[in-house]
């Protein structure tokens, strides 16, 4: 059976929801929310289908699709297939996991959108557009298409933050736009240089061509391109000192969007570093490994120490995200199988954990109008169930064995200890700090001294249970049976290791 239509269907399925919404009256709050939620389901079903297809032992390359799209004019070699950018979608084990993560988080974030108070129609249309962009990013098989979807995520996010966010939303939206705009500008330069020098933007072809001595790219130029990539994706990840925009976004954006932002959008940075940085420039990546390890440790420690002194729980989580992204860098810097696998695990695991924690913050904020830890003290009395999940989420985040956070941290550090034991040893302080700041924050909220009366505050109810239960179940599933992630990753890892010469 020809399955090449599946990925296009997956990526563009939210479009159906956008069209339906466009013809709906904008006052029908409830219907709009239901339609918005339903519109995320086709993508989820297809993504699960991809995973089942994999489990059934069939090749993921069945889904690859390539069609003629853009030709660049008046250039030599146009007939031989060069100077063309095709519409190419495909999935590997790694990108399939991220597609699945995207679809799950998007559906759950659509449920979390019950907290949106105004202009639901515009909100959901942008939300679904954002989903198209995210799904496209992970399935694009060439750099131009990747860039296209990458930028498609930018515009809806700008509006979603700027219109539906909290007090300083416009400032947050602008700093999001400009930082990410700069990052993608650098990325575009890299893409265009590669295209102009090689005549193709297909990722697989580029990976092969980099080993070809006839390709007119000097080692210095490659190193320059890789550093540029590091900056481009470093903004997204974010790598210290390019992180300040991300704090604003996490504090100002509405909870459902922070779930997506922290759960998926930041991961595009990690995906890009692994797929393009490591995939296309393996040799140069090796020369930067020490730098990456140091940057990773800085991220880890900087995030952890600053998270410790925050008073706003959202800020704690924002710094915690920076800290956890440090672990991704640490894993990548190790350049061995355990390290890279740990980095990828961390990408998925943090996506789930941060989505859970930010959803809970949203639920608290909805009831108490605050996210300051001081005001939230003693929450366990008013909302015992939510507080329980919060505690469990925090434990997952600090790496309790049996949950997904543990597996990823363990493997990332295992990898780094093998290569650079001293740097890894310094990094370990970060793990201790993580436990300190998370427990301080979470215990303060759940059992801390209460300054306000929470009687009459309702606990989680109805659909609010769906995101927390689903996310928690996945976190524990990965923690207990890591092979749900590691076996699809095997092929991807082997390819990467082959490129690294290991």
């Amino acid at each position: 059976m020809d399955l090449s239509f599946v990925l296009s269907l997956l990526v563009f399925s939210p479009l159906l929801g956008i069209i339906v919404l466009a013809f709906m009256p904008k006052t029908e709050e409830k219907t709009i929310k239901i339609v918005g939620f339903l519109a995320t389901l086709p993508a989820l079903v297809i993504a699960i289908g991809l995973y089942l297809h994999y489990l059934a032992g069939k090749a993921l390359s069945d889904f690859s699709v390539a069609k003629d799209w853009i030709t660049f004019g008046g250039l030599q070699g146009a007939e031989a297939g060069f100077w063309k950018v095709n519409y190419e979608l495909g999935v590997s084990g790694f990108s399939m996991l991220l597609v699945l993560l995207t679809a799950v988080v998007a559906t759950l974030a659509a449920i979390a959108s019950i907290y949106i108070k105004k202009e639901w129609k515009g909100y959901f249309m942008l939300f679904l557009l954002l989903e198209i962009g995210m799904l496209g990013v992970f399935t694009a098989e060439n750099l131009v298409l990747f860039f296209l979807f990458f930028e498609i995520t930018l515009i809806p996010t700008f509006f979603l933050i700027g219109k539906w966010g909290y007090f300083e939303k416009e400032k947050a939206a602008y700093s999001f736009l400009i930082y990410n705009g700069l990052g993608s500008a650098v990325l575009l330069i890299v893409i265009m240089i590669l295209f102009a020098k090689t005549g193709t933007t297909n990722i697989e072809m580029l990976t092969q061509m980099m080993n070809d001595p006839n390709v007119p790219l000097s080692g210095d130029l490659k190193l320059g391109l890789l550093i540029a990539l590091l900056i481009a994706f470093g903004v997204k990840l974010p790598i210290f000192p390019l992180h300040s925009w991300m704090l604003r976004v996490h504090v100002q954006a509405p909870p459902s969007i922070v779930m997506i932002h922290s759960g998926i959008l930041l991961k595009i940075g990690a995906y890009g570093l692994i797929r393009f940085g490591m995939g296309i420039f393996p040799e140069q990546f090796e020369t930067l490994a020490v730098l990456l390890a140091i940057l990773g440790v800085i991220n880890l420690l900087y995030g952890a120490f600053l998270a410790f002194i925050q008073t706003d729980f959202k800020m704690v989580l924002a710094y915690s995200s920076i800290s956890h992204m440090g672990i991704v860098l640490i894993g990548l810097a190790a350049m061995n199988e355990a390290g890279v696998q740990g980095a990828i695990f961390q990408v998925v695991s943090h996506g789930l954990i941060s989505a859970l924690l930010f959803f809970l913050v949203g639920a608290f904020y909805e009831r108490t109008d605050t996210s300051l830890m001081e005001n939230l003290g003693g929450m366990a009395k008013g909302m015992p169930i939510a507080s329980g999940f919060l505690l469990a989420g925090a434990l997952a985040s600090l790496g309790l064995p049996g949950m997904s956070g543990f597996v990823s941290e363990f493997m990332a550090f295992l990898g780094l200890f093998e290569e650079m034991p001293w740097i890894a040893a310094v990094g370990c302080i970060g793990i201790i700090m993580t436990a300190v700041y998370l427990l301080r924050a979470v215990l303060g909220i759940t059992y801390g001294q209460s300054h306000r009366d929470f009687t009459g505050v309702l606990d989680l109810k109805g659909v609010e249970f769906v995101p927390v239960v689903v996310l928690m179940a996945l976190i524990i599933l990965i923690g207990v049976i890591p092979s749900v992630l590691s076996s699809p990753l095997q092929a991807t890892l082997e390819t990467i290791m082959l490129g690294l010469g290991g």
Binding site: I70, G73, F159, L188, I189, I193, A196
Partner: protein
């Protein structure tokens, strides 16, 4: 020249020009005999019909081999045809704006001129695309310029409009004089005004001293023509003129006049300086030696345009600076002169035509409603008219060069050109991309007003004139279509213009 010679020419290749000139004359006469109080709008519609007729006749000429008539002064090659399409499309959309333009103070009596001057200006541009001679190029340039001077000042009792026309005339004349002076050097050295024979003489130029003279001529011509492009250092007129002129005239200047400017730059620069040897026969052409200067101008234009635009509170002024910035982007293509040069410039101008005219259409209707052109007047546009706001949003995203729009593909072409040549222009391309990010600030500033801010006045936009509706549908659709399926454009070019390879034959 005897009558026999005259009739022997294949006048058919001038049909589009004849249609425009005939209808311009017809409108002039009709205007003269129409009762004073009668609505002149019908003349605008006649003009639109004429442009469509010219387009159809041009389409009929698509298959024709390159041909020159009138002693090689008028040549119809693929370059001429391709850019004539741009001018005609731009002219038609501008006239749609013009017929929807609300009669402002002091404009009723002049309505007739208002329409046929667009046609004469357009004719000037068309002559430039098809000129094989410095004289006809210059005549085309002057025809376009003089029509534009009057159009800029057509709101006779409006102070800003008068100021704008005055500044335009003075600056324009200086620039023209400089260009003409530069051309006189070329004539002095070669004894001819015909581009092809100039090129032949210059190829054999042996004396290095002459090369210096030519270098001087190059700089003078280029700087003078930079005025038409609104490129630095001759960009200062643009903000004042764009702000003061009626919005359809602003649209005409920023699209038709700019396209014509790039046409004349390409004609002169490439056919003369692209072949003139810099140090004796067989050496590098002067144009390549001058790349650094063009790069400086391109860089300065992009930086000035984008940075100064940040500070504007008047939207037409802001669009003037934005238009300066876009001229800078196209100059990057002129700097790199890669093998896809003609297509790159053509496609960017095509994209810019739609994006900019669409945005100006929205500006025109908001201006008509609120009576001013402050950016703050866009506040709450989404509430007052969601359709207008979304259309403007798409056009702004296209102008900012986001993927999925024609603006992005245009920029991609420029980047590829800059990186694929022998000595890649990394610095210039980086300036271009950095200034593009700067431009997000002001384009999204308008978005902020439209979508985030509350409106001062909640009245809805009722009865949008049909001309504006047409322009908006065409421009929004084209901006997206050429962004998602750019191969439509390239297939058209490849089929009909064969890589513009007949430019120098």
């Amino acid at each position: 020249m005897s009558l026999e010679d005259l009739t022997s020419f294949n006048w058919g290749i001038m049909t589009p020009e004849f249609i425009i000139v005939g209808v311009a004359a017809l409108i002039t006469v009709l205007d003269l005999f129409m009762p004073k109080k009668q609505d002149r709008r019908i003349l605008g519609w006649i003009g639109i019909a004429a442009i469509f007729a010219a387009m159809v006749s041009l389409a009929g000429l698509l298959g024709a081999a390159p041909e020159s008539i009138l002693d090689d002064t008028f040549r119809l090659d693929s370059f001429g045809k391709a850019f004539k399409f741009l001018l005609l499309a731009g002219g038609a959309l501008v006239l749609f704006l013009a017929v929807s333009y609300k009669a402002d103070e002091g404009l009723e009596e002049y309505r007739g001129e208002f329409y046929y001057l667009f046609l004469t200006g357009l004719l000037g541009g068309m002559i430039m695309t098809s000129s094989g001679d410095l004289i006809t190029l210059f005549i085309g340039l002057e025809l376009l310029s003089i029509s534009s001077y009057i159009l800029a000042g057509i709101r006779k009792n409006n102070l800003q409009s008068n100021e704008s026309a005055m500044k335009y005339v003075i600056n324009g004349s200086i620039a023209t004089a400089i260009t003409l002076f530069g051309m006189s050097y070329v004539y002095g050295l070669t004894g001819s005004t015909n581009l092809l024979s100039i090129a032949r003489t210059l190829q054999a130029l042996a004396d290095a001293q002459h090369a210096y003279l030519l270098g001087l001529a190059f700089l003078m011509i280029f700087v003078g023509l930079a005025f038409k492009l609104a490129a630095a250092p001759f960009h200062m007129w643009a903000p004042d003129v764009y702000q003061g002129a009626p919005t359809p005239v602003t649209a005409f200047l920023s699209v038709v006049s700019k396209t014509a400017g790039f046409v004349i730059v390409a004609r002169i620069m490439i056919s003369i300086f692209g072949v003139a040897a810099s140090e004796g026969p067989g050496s590098m052409p002067i144009l390549y030696n001058m790349q650094d200067y063009i790069a400086v101008i391109a860089g300065a234009t992009m930086i000035i345009g984008n940075v100064v635009a940040l500070k504007q509170s008047n939207i037409k002024r802001m669009f003037a600076y934005s238009s300066i910035a876009h001229a800078g982007y196209i100059l990057v293509a002129f700097t790199s002169l890669s093998s896809n040069f003609f297509y790159t410039v053509w496609f960017y101008l095509l994209a810019y035509l739609f994006m900019n005219l669409g945005a100006l259409a929205v500006i025109q209707i908001v201006e008509a409603k609120t009576g001013s052109t402050k950016i703050a007047d866009f506040a709450g546009l989404y509430r007052r008219s969601p359709v207008l706001a979304v259309a403007m949003g798409i056009l702004l995203v296209a102008l900012a060069g986001f993927p999925g729009t024609a603006g992005f593909i245009g920029k991609l072409n420029i980047f590829i050109g800059a990186f694929m040549v022998q000595e890649p222009h990394y610095v210039l391309a980086s300036v271009m991309i950095a200034t593009t990010v700067v431009s997000y600030f002001y384009y999204f500033g308008i978005m902020t007003q439209m979508f985030f801010r509350p409106a001062a006045d909640d009245s809805k936009f009722t009865k949008i004139p049909v001309g504006i509706v047409v322009v908006l549908i065409v421009t929004v659709a084209a901006s997206l279509l050429f962004g998602i399926f750019p191969d439509i454009a390239i297939d058209f070019v490849n089929e009909n213009f064969n890589h513009f390879s007949d430019f120098l034959q």
